[in-house]
């Protein structure tokens, strides 16, 4: 039996009814036609489905849609405001931080979430001083972006792009 669900996706409100087995990712892609988040593994192992839910990055394939009733979901498409690419998007373009592009919206959302986590001084496993402000070194970026696989092997460029965006936002 389907159950009612309210979602705000990239600023747009949706009301729908979904099967309790439906993941947030499938609700977005199959029900709402929001194709920016991708399905790469459906098991939370690749990060292609990463979206921001209430500001935090999340593997939407591991979330049941009904657990996120009334949530605000932001996809990489939603990070563009008024059709203008965000600084993070532009950094990905300039650094050629992707090839096939399939993991890219997830990488972008993950980077956006990660930059906020770092700005909030949340440490990672490679952070030396847990009390000090986070210095986003390349090592920190690599560690914090390791939940997002890229089989084309654009990692060195992804690090450069995230680093560029972090510099610009300073």
């Amino acid at each position: 039996m389907d159950h009612p669900l309210n979602l705000t996706v990239d600023g747009q409100e949706h009301t729908l009814a979904v099967d309790p087995r439906t993941t947030l990712l499938d609700a977005l892609r199959d029900r709402l036609g929001v194709m920016s988040p991708k399905k790469g593994c459906d098991h939370g192992q690749c990060g292609a489905c990463t979206v921001l839910v209430d500001g935090r990055r999340l593997n939407s394939c591991l979330a049941l849609a009904l657990s996120h009733d009334a949530a605000a979901v932001t996809t990489s498409d939603g990070l563009a405001t008024d059709g203008e690419l965000s600084p993070l998007h532009r950094a990905f373009l300039e650094q050629d931080a992707f090839q096939c592009g399939y993991c890219t919206p997830g990488q972008v959302c993950s980077a956006a979430g990660m930059l906020q986590e770092a700005a909030d001084d949340a440490p990672s496993v490679v952070t030396e001083d847990l009390e000090a402000p986070v210095d986003l070194t390349d090592e920190e970026i690599r560690e914090r972006m390791s939940g997002n696989l890229c089989r084309c092997g654009a990692y060195v460029n992804i690090v450069a792009a995230v680093s560029q965006a972090a510099e610009e936002s300073r």
């Binding site: 991708k38 098991h43 399939y102 690599r142 092997g153």
Partner: protein, 690 residues
């Protein structure tokens, strides 16, 4: 030699034209084409490796909510041709490998399809299976296709007389392409015509393969694939998943059927690199000159369909030696069908060859770069033809300079830093410079520019951008005036994006079309003026051995106590002719090297001999490199153009980045520790103190 095209857009660091859509997630991949009222497919897979499905009870599935149709061999639509046993699915209850398709459920939602597939019960008649590759396997035989054995001189005598010799066995494991976008198809039959929105490295080659099997004329099958989420060979030829979607859709005419292969299913359905066993013997004079080169390779194949992973391929042309013996064998087993994976043949073959060369360097006391220089042949040892541009030595020397090879100690275990042993390694890279004939480009003048249509593919290779640059220079107009159309069988024929031939082959068609267009319509053509041109075979291929070359350098650190291996840096120096787009080319080289890092340190499909399936069939357990595994990887290339490659002067670069990369890392690991690992991948236990 042909005249080289004058360049303006070519050679510039153009940002990807498809990039703005891709970073936002607006580029349309296979699953994402808007279709009305789709149905969803969930397959039924064989749970034994050999035998047959005695009964398949679909009654509960058929009664389940939302189920529209259940497909098995008992009700599957007829096929016109069943010669290709990988693609001629659902013909009988016979089972050739675990994970083979036995049927499918089509339902209104994905959840319903999956649930109903679980309700199907199958009773099996199981037969003994064999999935274990061994060098002395009784079923070992020469491949049905391939280069054949090579025997020159007397290898055994030369080895016996050699001042220095190496006799070692190497192996490469089962590896899986794992493009990030799973193989996906939306299939819809409409009044006897079939449309497949899918993810493929070649819409026309895929149509040429599938149409005769389905009993369709080419114009009754349309294939659409504008954006491909990676392939690395696995989307180079159609696999059974496309057939399953097509057959399922035939049962529900007018309704689109969506099927995205799951990550787990990809390990048995969409191809993989077969494991290889390599026996290499090298004999040399005291100065390192090779006198004997013997390479006996065995690769795993499938009883269902043969695919030889020809590890001996690069041995034919890589190094000289008066006495040579190359043999390639395959062992067909009860396993899924292997297929192309980035640089088939070259990638695994250059693991054994380049580690063996490192061993020969150690045994003869010669620097590994100098050893390769001394064995660099004047002409192709296989055909006797001169090379187009064999600049391996330039790559080795220039690369060594840029990498800082002089910091290397030739003695293992001499560089230490805080518990880590540090080492450097080198290996050569090579890949054929192929160009396929037959692609056709159509150029049409529009009100504000030129429409260039050719059914090429962009799987992250940069085709949207680089081919636009080529078209702009061919027409001598700014790139803003070119509107490229690719990825649809409604566009003129294009050969596959495979074997590093894509851009060179399609560009030849674009160049021919532009020449014809200017001849027919001049420089101020009326709107609507149109011409087309076809790519011809490269005439230089008859007079020259056409190859690209490169050199990989790597520095690794291995923890003396734990054996943990980390890559400090990798550097690749390549000779690939003219580079069309330095921004995207660098990415492609680095991407190949990153996959080489995975090949060296992470990737291995663990085939369970008891059940015949890959146990680690997902991305949590089949490890590919993640961001934290990759510190510093850089690529550079010689500033050159290759006149033998045709007017473009460019050779393909999709594959050479992976070739030799794993060997450079293995050689660096030896230099760090003194432990020689000959079986990939290099797991940490190999370096533990014994």
């Amino acid at each position: 030699m042909s005249d080289l095209l004058a360049t303006s857009a070519i050679g510039t660091r153009q940002v990807r034209l498809d990039g703005p859509d891709k970073v936002r997630g607006r580029a349309t991949y296979a699953y994402e084409h808007p279709v009305d009222d789709p149905l969803y497919l969930c397959p039924l897979l064989a749970m034994i490796a050999r035998g047959r499905a005695a009964t398949i009870d679909t009654s509960a599935a058929e009664a389940a909510d939302g189920v529209v149709h259940v497909l098995t061999h008992e009700n599957a639509p007829a096929l016109q041709s069943t010669d290709d046993a990988e693609l001629a699915i659902l013909r009988s209850p016979e089972i050739g490998f675990r994970g083979q398709y036995l049927g499918a459920v089509i339902a209104t939602t994905p959840e319903q399809a999956r649930h109903a597939a679980d309700l199907i019960t199958v009773s099996y008649v199981q037969e003994d299976h064999d999935v274990e590759l061994r060098e002395d396997h009784p079923a070992s035989r020469p491949p049905e296709s391939g280069g054949g054995d090579v025997t020159v001189g007397d290898v055994d005598s030369a080895l016996a007389e050699a001042a220095v010799s190496i006799d070692q066995r190497y192996s490469t494991p089962m590896e899986h392409n794992n493009p990030m976008e799973p193989h996906t198809t939306i299939a819809r039959w409409d009044r006897g015509e079939l449309t497949l929105w899918t993810s493929t490295q070649g819409v026309h080659p895929t149509r040429s393969t599938l149409a005769p099997i389905l009993g369709l004329e080419p114009d009754q099958l349309r294939i659409v694939s504008p954006h491909v989420g990676g392939g690395f060979g696995s989307k180079g030829v159609p696999h059974a998943d496309m057939m399953l979607a097509a057959l399922a859709a035939k049962a529900v005419p007018g309704r689109p059927v969506k099927y995205a292969v799951t990550r787990q299913q990809m390990f048995s359905i969409t191809g993989y690199r077969a494991p290889t066993l390599q026996h290499i013997r090298l004999g040399a004079r005291a100065d390192g000159t090779i006198t004997a080169f013997a390479f006996d390779a065995v690769s795993m194949s499938s009883q269902t369909k043969e695919f030889p992973e020809e590890a001996t391929k690069p041995a034919r042309m890589m190094y000289a030696g008066d006495n040579r013996r190359l043999t390639q064998r395959v062992v067909p087993l009860d396993v899924p069908v292997p297929s192309w994976m980035r640089a088939p043949g070259e990638a695994p073959g250059m693991v054994g060859i380049e580690i063996a060369m490192d061993e020969l360097a150690v045994a003869s006391g010669i620097d590994p770069i100098e050893l390769r220089v001394r064995n660099d042949p004047e002409n192709d040892p296989d055909t006797g033809l001169p090379f187009n541009q064999r600049r391996l030595v330039d790559c080795l020397r220039e690369g060594a300079e840029r990498f800082g090879w002089d910091e290397r100690s030739s003695q293992p275990r001499t560089r230490r830093d805080n518990g880590w042993l540090i080492g450097m390694g080198v290996a050569s890279a090579t890949y054929p410079a192929g160009r396929q004939p037959g692609s056709v480009a159509r150029i049409r003048r529009t009100s504000d520019g030129y429409e260039v249509a050719i059914a090429a593919a962009d799987l992250g290779t940069g085709t949207w951008t680089a081919l636009t640059q080529v078209a702009a220079d061919s027409l001598d107009v700014p790139i803003e005036q070119v509107e490229l159309q690719i990825g649809d069988t409604d566009l003129p024929n294009a050969t596959v994006a495979g074997g590093s031939t894509g851009l060179a082959s399609w560009s030849a068609a674009v160049l021919a079309a532009a020449e014809t267009f200017r001849r027919e319509h001049g420089t101020d053509p009326a709107s609507g003026a149109q011409s087309q041109g076809e790519a011809q075979a490269n005439p230089a291929a008859e007079k020259f051995a056409l190859h690209s070359f490169g050199a990989h350098f790597a520095e690794v650190r291995i923890h003396a106590a734990t054996g943990e291996i980390r890559v400090n840096r990798m550097f690749g120096m390549f000779s690939a002719g003219r580079i069309v787009n330095p921004r995207t080319a660098r990415s492609q080289f680095i991407g190949g090297m990153t996959m080489g890092l995975g090949m060296a340190l992470h990737e291995k499909g663990e085939l369970d001999p008891r059940f015949g399936h890959v146990v680690n069939h997902d991305l949590a357990e089949y490890h590919v490199p993640v961001n934290a595994d990759v510190a510093e990887i850089e690529a550079a290339w010689l500033d050159e153009e290759d006149p033998q490659a045709g007017p473009l002067g460019a050779r393909g670069i999709g594959e050479i980045g992976i070739v030799g990369a794993a060997a450079a890392l293995a050689n660096a690991a030896y230099n760090a520790t003194g432990v020689r690992v000959r079986d990939l991948p290099l797991f940490g236990d190999a370096f533990l103190p014994r």
